[in-house]
């Protein structure tokens, strides 16, 4: 199927693990990691990278601006 494939990179040391990106992802790609960062927060990560379409919803709602979104056309 033609379409877009995306990926996000999370600045894990700055992420505060609020989970707002997780509930606002339309494809349920993101999740909170079991590991913690230097401040003790469970940072966001791509739990299911194959589903990402690069819509940037997560980046737009992230209160700390830690998410960068990348997208390629297939």
């Amino acid at each position: 199927m033609a379409g877009f494939k995306g990926a996000v990179s999370v600045d894990t040391e700055r992420c505060k693990g609020c989970g707002v990106c997780v509930v606002n992802c339309p494809m349920q790609v993101l999740g909170l990691a079991k590991e913690v960062n230097g401040k003790g927060y469970n940072y966001a990560y791509m739990a299911e990278p194959d589903k990402c379409i690069g819509c940037a919803s997560c980046g737009i709602v992230c209160p700390d601006g830690v998410i960068s979104v990348y997208k390629v056309k297939l």
Binding site: K5, S9, C18, V20, V22, V23, V61, C62, D64, G65
Partner: protein, 271 residues
């Protein structure tokens, strides 16, 4: 195609604005202040006005906003951000001046400055972050607190009126939630008055468009205050996790503070 193949500079579609410094925000996890800082920085970057923008930060959680924006900033005395912005704009009419205030700063201690700045019709942009509580000082009742909402100073919920027959026997009358945005919309000095929110991607985009319009009006020299209220959350003092606080905001804050434009180009929008 692996994730490593996609994460390359040429495929970038979204990242944090370059006008935000590398300093991490000190706000609580999930706080709306961070999102609002981000969209203001994006608007300033898109309009290309970073060299001539001057911000005025308040007293409150966002008191250190000057650390996060790579533009000129002044920290005003408590409540006096719009008075400070007035002075800057009158001395430098060609600069773009915006104030950034919370509900404790703009609607409580700074009500006088807010109303008179709007009444004088200064050509500035005012950003008002309303979360219905005093965040920095530990969750006391603000003028914008909802009726029945429990805070540190209203542990049984805010009561607007005295119970029947109670008289003045020590039961406080806490008053009604203050709709300062509707209040100033009726002043002839305001040009553009709107209320937005930042709890999901669609509303962040709308809020960004509103802030952009508020800045463009000022740059185009349309005389009058451009006022953007943003209904935000305070998950620490609402005692909720960030996701639940956003749901609570939709269920409780938005019926009291409905979103949308209130005044456009000097005319009240009929609902």
């Amino acid at each position: 195609m692996t994730v490593e193949d996609i994460i390359k500079p040429e495929n970038l579609v979204y990242e944090k604005s370059k006008l935000l410094t590398s300093k991490p925000f000190h706000y609580c996890p999930g706080c709306g202040h961070g999102t609002i800082h981000r969209i203001i920085a994006e608007v300033i970057e898109e309009l290309g006005i970073d060299e001539k923008t001057i911000g005025v930060s308040p007293v409150g959680c966002s008191v250190m906003a000057y650390d996060y924006f790579d533009v000129d900033f002044i920290e005003a005395a408590h409540g006096r951000a719009t008075a400070c912005a007035t002075g800057i704009k009158r001395v430098w009419p060609d600069k773009v001046v915006f104030s950034y205030q919370g509900d404790g700063d703009l609607a409580a201690i700074g009500t006088c400055e807010t109303i008179h700045t709007c009444n004088r019709g200064e050509n500035i942009t005012m950003i008002f972050v309303n979360n219905g509580i005093y965040g920095m000082t530990g969750g006391q009742m603000a003028p914008t607190t909802l009726e029945g909402m429990k805070t540190a100073t209203t542990p049984y919920g805010r009561k607007a009126t005295l119970p029947a027959g109670a008289g003045f026997d020590g039961i406080p009358n806490n008053g009604y939630p203050l709709h300062i945005t509707e209040l100033i919309a009726h002043l002839p000095g305001t040009k553009y008055v709107t209320r937005q929110a930042v709890y999901d991607p669609a509303h962040v985009r709308k809020a960004k468009a509103a802030i952009k319009k508020a800045f463009e009006n000022q740059i185009n020299g349309k005389s009058g205050v451009n006022f953007v209220e943003i209904v935000s959350n305070c998950n620490s003092n609402w005692k909720m996790d960030p996701v639940k606080a956003n749901q609570w905001l939709v269920e409780n804050m938005l019926p009291e503070y409905p979103l949308g434009d209130i005044k456009v180009d000097g005319k009240i929008v009929e609902k």
